[in-house]
């Protein structure tokens, strides 16, 4: 208990320093913070966090900043005030088990709430970009240090030291709790692109809730391009209506310590597609936890997560699928494939199927492999240089996930990013 109090003490100060909120919101924040204080930061003894050690976050003192959201959306989409979405806000992403969701909810304020009206078919992607603030220089620094030197200081790699402990003269890492709620009306269709980026050391603790109306079709893309010194913890919760189709594409490229939770709850006849691509190098750590909850009959889900690891990177995949007693005729497929380019990278992958219905079809598979030596030789035997051949095969490994991206501009930019990344890898 005292360890928990030690960790959460700093946060209590931030929490109580918030300007007061309207009663409904304040009670939500209070409940969430109380839960966070009870749970504390998870440790690796916690099964859900077994391979992801968040101690670097727990022992860092962050300076809170409001999330900075850039929004691009067509006129037919309505932006709502949080109070207008009270019935949904924080009703989908549960904070009773996940301390980071609790922490985000405790700092609810600057929420991005978008509503897509019933029957609306929106072709233009709705873009939501969260840009993290660079570490804030301490006051004494601002006075005494020339600008150039300060810039060098703040670009130092991740660690509790570099992140700063808030003491005088050290740049202080920021924390933001981006919160997004998207309400998609019945029969509507839309595409959402959420992007996270920033520079330097900081902590992004994001929660996104998406409510997919009956028979609606929603494609969600998350592009995580945080700085390589950043902490990124995020939960996406989708509640999918009857006969609706929801697709999540999670592209994870940046961050020093990253945890993505993608949770989808299905209704009768819903379809959920969960695609993921993570590319990590150096000492990056990325943990993808997915939860597909087949609560009602005739649901289908397809999940494909692919990872490319180099250096001493560590990737975790945990794919939980629950098929509840009533969810007969469920059809579910899960695949996780990992390409390991170095000797020191580590992958922990685990399917977790909990099936309580008897008339279902569920398949799962996971692989961890290296570049195919025969394919490499085949390419070389046609005159293609070894490094280009490696690059080509690495790129090819990611191709099927990239092909599923329907937003042309996003696919193009991702292909460019991948190409550049593998250029570095190969040479």
């Amino acid at each position: 208990m005292s360890a928990v109090a030690e960790q959460t003490g700093e946060w209590l100060e931030q929490f109580t320093n918030q300007p007061p909120a309207p009663a409904w919101l304040q009670s939500l924040r209070d409940a969430a913070f109380a839960r966070f204080a009870e749970l504390g930061f998870p440790t690796t003894h916690d099964e859900e966090w077994r391979f992801t050690n968040v101690a670097p976050i727990a022992r860092t003192a962050f300076t809170p900043v409001a999330p900075d959201a850039l929004l691009v959306y067509p006129e037919s989409v309505k932006k709502l005030a949080p109070a207008e979405a009270e019935a949904h806000l924080a009703r989908h992403a549960a904070f009773d088990q996940n301390p980071f969701v609790a922490l985000n909810t405790a700092f609810l304020g600057n929420v991005t709430v978008l509503e897509i009206p019933r029957n609306a078919v929106i072709e233009q992607p709705i873009e939501i970009t969260y840009v993290a603030q660079a570490p804030l220089p301490a006051v004494s620094r601002l006075v005494s240090t020339p600008l150039g030197e300060r810039d060098t200081e703040s670009s130092v790699g991740m660690s509790a030291d570099a992140a700063g402990t808030g003491t005088e003269g050290t740049p202080c890492a920021t924390v933001a709790h981006p919160r997004t709620l998207i309400l998609v009306g019945a029969n509507a269709q839309c595409t959402i692109v959420e992007t996270y980026k920033g520079a330097g050391t900081y902590f992004t603790n994001a929660v996104t809730e998406i409510v997919v109306g009956d028979r609606a079709v929603v494609d969600h893309y998350k592009v995580q391009q945080e700085s390589v010194d950043a902490f990124h913890i995020a939960t996406l919760q989708a509640t999918i209506g009857r006969s609706a189709a929801f697709a999540s594409h999670s592209i994870s490229l940046g961050g020093a310590l990253v945890r993505n939770d993608v949770n989808a709850t299905l209704s009768e006849g819903s379809d959920a597609t969960l695609n993921g691509l993570y590319i990590v190098n150096g000492t990056q750590h990325v943990d993808n936890h997915t939860l597909i909850d087949h609560a009602m009959p005739h649901g289908t889900s397809h999940e494909l997560y692919k990872g490319i690891l180099d250096g001493k990177a560590h990737a975790v995949f945990n794919g939980k699928i629950i098929v509840r007693k009533d969810a007969q005729k469920t059809d579910s497929k899960q695949t996780n494939k990992n390409l390991v380019l170095s000797d020191d990278a580590v992958v922990d992958t685990k399917p977790e199927l909990q099936i309580f219905a008897d008339d279902v079809r569920c398949t799962h598979g996971a692989t961890i492999g290296q570049l195919d030596a025969e394919a490499l030789f085949y390419l070389q035997s046609r005159g293609i240089g070894k490094s280009q051949a490696r690059r080509l095969l690495t790129y090819a490994f990611a191709q099927d996930v990239v092909d599923r991206i329907k937003v042309q501009s996003l696919r193009d930019s991702l292909e460019r990013i991948l190409f550049e990344k593998f250029h570095e890898h190969a040479d």
Partner: protein
């Protein structure tokens, strides 16, 4: 000067010595067939010439076009004009045939000091060659060999050879798994490539390919050595008599 000169070549995979002293000279314009029973080292020889690292050369030399072939990386051998038609072409999902072959052709052209081709010029080059191989042009947009039938894979090999225009082509059991119609298409593709500047080594287990691609020389490989060489008629003899009396059974040695 010969295009290819193999002298006393020894190679092993793991602890097993497979090539035990190969000697072979190939001149430009010649077609050499290499026959022999399973496990005699035919495919190993083909792979060693292409530079497969799995096989370790333990002795001997290979001179290609005046250069030490064994010192060259596989991609450099290809750029210098060596082409191996694989017995088992590799499937590469995620890389289109078009991208792959264009990259290969342009690397080789660059090496030869010829201008690289853009997509339009490349298409013009490949269109005729696809017709010779009776290949559907949609194949270009499909991933390399992925989901191809056995016959399509073999035709794709010869098609690649036609596009890359090697100086020395090594065909490793290109006939295996082909029905007679597919065999004729493949053979026609190979025959169209015969030229005074180009040599071919045709590795095969059966004579039937050699009725279609008529060789200038036939060599019989057994236990890692060439045990007999002759003209095209040797293939017919082998077909009639089999390989059995070409080499001594090891168990017959030192017994009784």
């Amino acid at each position: 000067m010969s295009l290819l000169e193999i002298k006393d070549l020894h190679a092993k995979v793991g602890d097993r010595e497979i090539l035990q002293g190969i000697n072979l000279t190939v001149n430009a314009g010649e077609v050499h067939a290499i026959m022999g029973p399973n496990g005699s080292g035919k495919s190993t020889l083909a792979q060693v010439l292409a530079g497969r690292e799995l096989y370790v050369v333990t002795g001997g030399s290979v001179t290609y076009d005046g250069k030490d072939l064994l010192a060259m990386a596989p991609e450099d051998r290809a750029r210098e004009g060596i082409f191996l038609a694989f017995q088992y072409p590799v499937e590469i999902p995620g890389v289109s045939n078009m991208y792959f072959l264009k990259a290969a052709l342009n690397t080789i052209r660059k090496h030869r000091g010829i201008e690289e081709l853009d997509a339009m010029d490349f298409l013009n080059v490949v269109r005729d060659k696809m017709q010779i191989m009776k290949m559907d042009q949609t194949l270009l947009n499909r991933p390399v060999n992925a989901g191809f039938s056995g016959g399509e894979k073999k035709r794709n090999e010869i098609f690649q050879m036609a596009v890359l225009e090697p100086k020395l082509a090594v065909l490793d059991e290109t006939d295996s798994g082909l029905d007679i119609d597919a065999l004729r298409i493949v053979a026609a593709g190979v025959n169209a490539m015969r030229s005074p500047d180009r040599a071919m080594i045709v590795v095969t287990h059966y004579q039937r390919l050699l009725s279609e691609i008529v060789p200038d020389f036939v060599h019989v490989l057994a236990e890692g050595r060439i045990v007999k060489s002759g003209g095209k008629e040797l293939a017919l003899e082998l077909e009639a008599e089999g390989y059995a009396d070409l080499y001594e059974e090891p168990q017959a040695v030192g017994k009784v």
